[in-house]
Point group: C3
Chain length 345, copies 3
């Protein structure tokens, strides 16, 4: 086992009544793991190569903690030690290679790699993710299998406890697993585990970030970043704006937003934007929108489908408020970030 392993996670999770995994929490996942750590897992936890989710006993975890500490992996040793003595269902997931996730522990490790910023969006195979992830009730008493929820709700009531159900979904909130450094998330319900948020990112209450999507940062995000969409450094998304995704009939091509763009409030884009682009508040530019391209003298250059402009930089899109035509101009006005605001992101 001399080649580095793609990723490892020491974690603890929740199972349903049939022993099936519902979710797994990895406090400190690792990417590109050296051979020594892999060898320790083989010796103490029965790791035999490949991609696997091991279910170590308390004794195995204690032995692993000692071995990891001796090998200089202090942080991982501490985690193993705590898992050895704690409640919950411990699991150690090893991904020797980046393959499509084959189990809940594997899927959760991949989502953690994204949210811990160890892998960027589109760097991992996520094929079949939806089929692997179970639908889970996310509650004030942890993850509960949806089929068990009615009995748990009645039991809480008769016991005088308050059981709050925050959501019922295949994805939990990222903030319940990790909050990466230098980030603000006003309403944690709106950022899924699997989102990649770079330093200096603020997700306001109207903002939303799906899995395998995110922001380079810094940026003030008050709009919705669909699965697969990545927003470059210094770009701001105004309240309620939309980046069209591919999951629900809207768009065929995956889009991205470059650096220093400004998408206005209640606006939207179905095409990629390069750098320093602006979309006027309230305007939705779809891939098929016919756009009148205007030069700096104000003359019409051409009329094209917006998809033909996809990925361009220095574009300003507006809807002419007298003619109703969607126009694209050269975006000479610098996008002036509110420096005071970004300084305290």
């Amino acid at each position: 086992m001399t080649a580095p392993l793609f990723a490892i996670g020491l974690g603890t999770g929740t199972r349903g009544a049939r022993g099936n995994w519902l979710e797994v929490f990895y406090p400190a996942p690792l990417r590109n793991v050296d051979a020594a750590l892999a060898a320790a897992l083989a010796t103490h936890c029965g790791y035999a190569g490949g991609n696997a989710a091991l279910e170590p006993s308390a004794q195995q975890l204690a032995a692993l903690a000692t071995a990891l500490g001796a090998a200089g992996h202090e942080a991982q040793a501490a985690i193993a030690g705590q898992l050895a003595g704690g409640r919950g269902a411990p699991v150690i997931t090893v991904l020797a290679t980046d393959a499509a996730p084959a189990s809940v522990p594997e899927a959760y490790l991949k989502l953690h790699l994204l949210s811990h910023r160890l892998c960027r969006p589109h760097e991992q195979k996520l094929d079949g993710l939806f089929a692997v992830l179970p639908n889970v009730a996310w509650t004030s008493e942890g993850a509960i299998e949806v089929a068990e929820l009615p009995a748990r709700q009645l039991a809480a009531r008769v016991a005088g406890r308050t059981l709050t159900v925050h959501g019922v979904d295949k994805f939990p909130r990222m903030s319940d697993y990790v909050v990466p450094a230098g980030v603000r998330i006003a309403d944690a319900a709106r950022v899924r585990l699997g989102a990649w948020l770079g330093e200096g990112t603020t997700i306001m209450h109207e903002g939303f970030v799906n899995f395998n999507a995110g922001t380079e940062g810094p940026g003030m995000i008050e709009g919705r970043i669909s699965a697969g969409v990545f927003v470059g450094a210094g770009s701001d998304l105004g309240g309620g704006c939309s980046t069209m995704g591919t999951l629900s009939g809207g768009n065929k091509a995956l889009i991205a937003v470059g650096r220093e763009c400004l998408i206005g409030a209640n606006a939207g884009t179905g095409i990629s934007l390069g750098d320093r682009c602006t979309i006027e508040a309230g305007l939705y530019v779809t891939a098929g929108s016919r756009v009148t391209v205007i030069d700096e003298a104000g003359a019409v250059v051409k009329v094209v489908a917006a998809r033909d402009l996809s990925g361009g930089s220095d574009m300003l899109f507006r809807r002419n408020s007298q003619s109703g035509a969607i126009e694209c101009l050269s975006n000479r006005a610098a996008i002036a970030l509110n420096e005071a605001l970004h300084a305290h992101n």
Copy 2:
């Protein structure tokens, strides 16, 4: 008592300091209840006919549990037994007929009938519902009367407890009462008790469903379904889109959305849509919008107010991106549901 009763609920609720009901949880409400169950309620809990909210003692509940078990109503017997031994304030609400809700227990039973999918929207009388429902603080310590909240907040602080107030409203979250089968709700704050969600429905974070409204399912809902609005099978609502309601000055006529429609992100409709309609992202079609109807040859057929098209099928609405005119075309393009996504709803 030979005619079936409209509905019954065995439940447990919360009262304010003056003994007034704040809310009631019914684990398994019933519709069209047979005479035997009604007779058991008369015998053991003093039910004397009509619509009533009974407040049985523990002994009465225990006797009722035995009687229900003997009569073959195992599930209801189990509930009665748990309520007999538990905390909280038990209540049995009987609606002999479907009349306007006259009390909090009656109102909550009617909202449960909707969310348990026992009654569809518009099948019950809900007159005066807002006047009956109290405004309640929904917290991590359960329902609290708004007037008592300041004292409870200070008491929690000095005791070292964390009291979180999720909302202050006449309606609680549906998920804290029931999660019907085959449904996903990404942010449970956005689905009110009283919503009707059919199998295969996914309410994404930007989606919203009011009481007495809902979706046949399957459907990917990322927009807002106003009170009274129902969305047919196979329809998807894009992020931030709007179905205009009648509660707040916007619309006079109640609208509905048929099957296999697609309302684009940040779009909206103030008219009903039949089947297989599409509204382009960013376009709001109001009842009064003047719409240019265009035939398949591209010729203008007529210009009408959108309300004259209300309920039509196979309509595609767009705003001509060169002329600014709202146009309605025949919607030949099939709405291709993302099959992988809907397969795992």
Copy 3:
């Protein structure tokens, strides 16, 4: 000390590991505080004038409670008494004058003055607020310093507790600090501490209110009120609508909305509206939008930038659905509030 003090708050808060304040809860802040109360603070808690955050001992609080009771300040005496015997970190913040907030306790007192409706938006100096407020993880176990969160999350897991992170932000939810009388807030995540909500205000799930912003009430608010924006009595904001703020590149000038306005669903404004204005659903009026002003006879009066109409009353904005031009008409149609709805706000 004969001049009244600007404000006082007896409170209890949370500190991080280094003793730094994360947040402070003031159950009953006071504005324009008479000399007797100030003298009691000097005598018992070492208050020496100016703006200060005192950290009284339990004994000092007990003595203060007695003194306040003797002086007729029953409510404040009760609070002092509870703080004396309770957990948490007590703090008494005195603002002799309204100056830029110099500490977390001072900043929180100012935000409380807004949310308790003791100061309206724009009545206080809030310079440097963002620099003073720390970024905090708001959780089911209270406020946690972001740097301590990973250890707390792992500790909760191994102990079998569920730790939910509601948000990571400089501002907490208003509802966890105060719910002013006569208000409904459907999703409390969407109203920040520092919002000013007048009686009769309902903030629906899609509504949002930032700090130093708010509503006179009554009003049905389903759209977003940006920092600094105030909405007059009887105005309704439709679902998803936007009032453009100044914090993120959108607008230069602060705007306000007057009385009895209706901003349609998914609409938006970048200009101030006087009274009885309407913006059609889906239309975003930016400051630079060219608007065709039309008189009651239907004739074009002028074409101006929308900013030239800022603050006007009785204006109806629509986008002509045949020509695509943004038009402004005289708003003769009364805005009929849904009386049943507002009666039960």
